[in-house]
């Protein structure tokens, strides 16, 4: 089956710092999503991004489908950005295969 790998596994930042999270996938996919799981366990849909770049406030994402990777940029990080960031590739029947996640901790 398709493999999804995220890096880094853990990231610790000071408030105000910028970061880049990476997601590599092993095969062609229909689409890709980024999620944030906050400390309360909610999975929040950040981006639905098959290719190109999207921006939403301090967050942006870029997917290069031909090279099988996606990047999530967080600028001017805040403590509320803490949590786990997952990428998930969308393939047959809308099935999501998740990466193992990046645990982000932002210190004040």
């Amino acid at each position: 089956g398709i493999q999804v790998e995220q890096s880094p596994p853990d990231l610790i930042l000071q408030e105000g710092a910028n970061s880049t999270l990476r997601c590599n996938f092993s095969d062609s996919v229909n689409n890709l999503q980024w999620f944030h799981q906050n400390p309360w366990g909610q999975l929040i849909n950040l981006f639905y991004i098959p290719s190109g770049t999207k921006q939403n406030g301090r967050l942006s994402a870029t997917t290069v489908a031909t090279e099988r990777y996606s990047l999530l940029y967080i600028s001017s990080s805040q403590t509320t950005d803490s949590g786990v960031y997952f990428c998930a590739v969308v393939h047959s029947y809308g099935k999501l295969t998740f990466g193992q996640g990046t645990i982000l901790t932002v210190h004040p």
Binding site: N30, N31, Q33, F35, Q37, G41, Q42, L43, N45, Y48, V84, F86, A88, V90, S92, Y93, G94, K95, L96, T97, F98, Q100, G101
Partner: protein
């Protein structure tokens, strides 16, 4: 106005019991799912329904039985609960592959 809602949020039960988790979505999506998140935070699909029909059934023990009375609801019934079933179960719905998740149900089997 919660888009995907599941109940209960927490469930603590003894081994051997039978329990159900309910899920409802008001997004008008055709496809609904159940995902399981283990203790290491890994998320894996269990089932998917499209317009009330089962389309994905991953290798899940047959003690788990999903039921979709209509395309807005997908419930999960679990028989003879085991310690290893302890996890967080997420319901989701999607249209065109863009998925939205419920808040999760933390199941603890003691």
């Amino acid at each position: 106005d919660t888009a995907v809602s599941q109940t209960p949020k927490y469930l603590v039960t003894q081994m051997g019991n039978d329990k159900s988790i309910k899920c409802e979505q008001n997004l008008g999506h055709d496809t609904m799912y159940w995902y399981k998140q283990d203790s290491k935070k890994f998320l894996k699909i269990m089932f998917s329904y499209n317009n009330k029909e089962l389309i994905i059934n991953e290798t899940v023990p047959n003690r788990f039985s999903p039921k979709s009375p209509d395309k807005a609801h997908l419930n999960l019934h679990i028989n003879s609960l085991e310690l290893g079933d302890s996890a967080v179960y997420f319901c989701a719905s999607s249209q065109g592959g863009n998925a939205f998740f419920g808040q999760g149900t933390r199941l603890t089997v003691v």
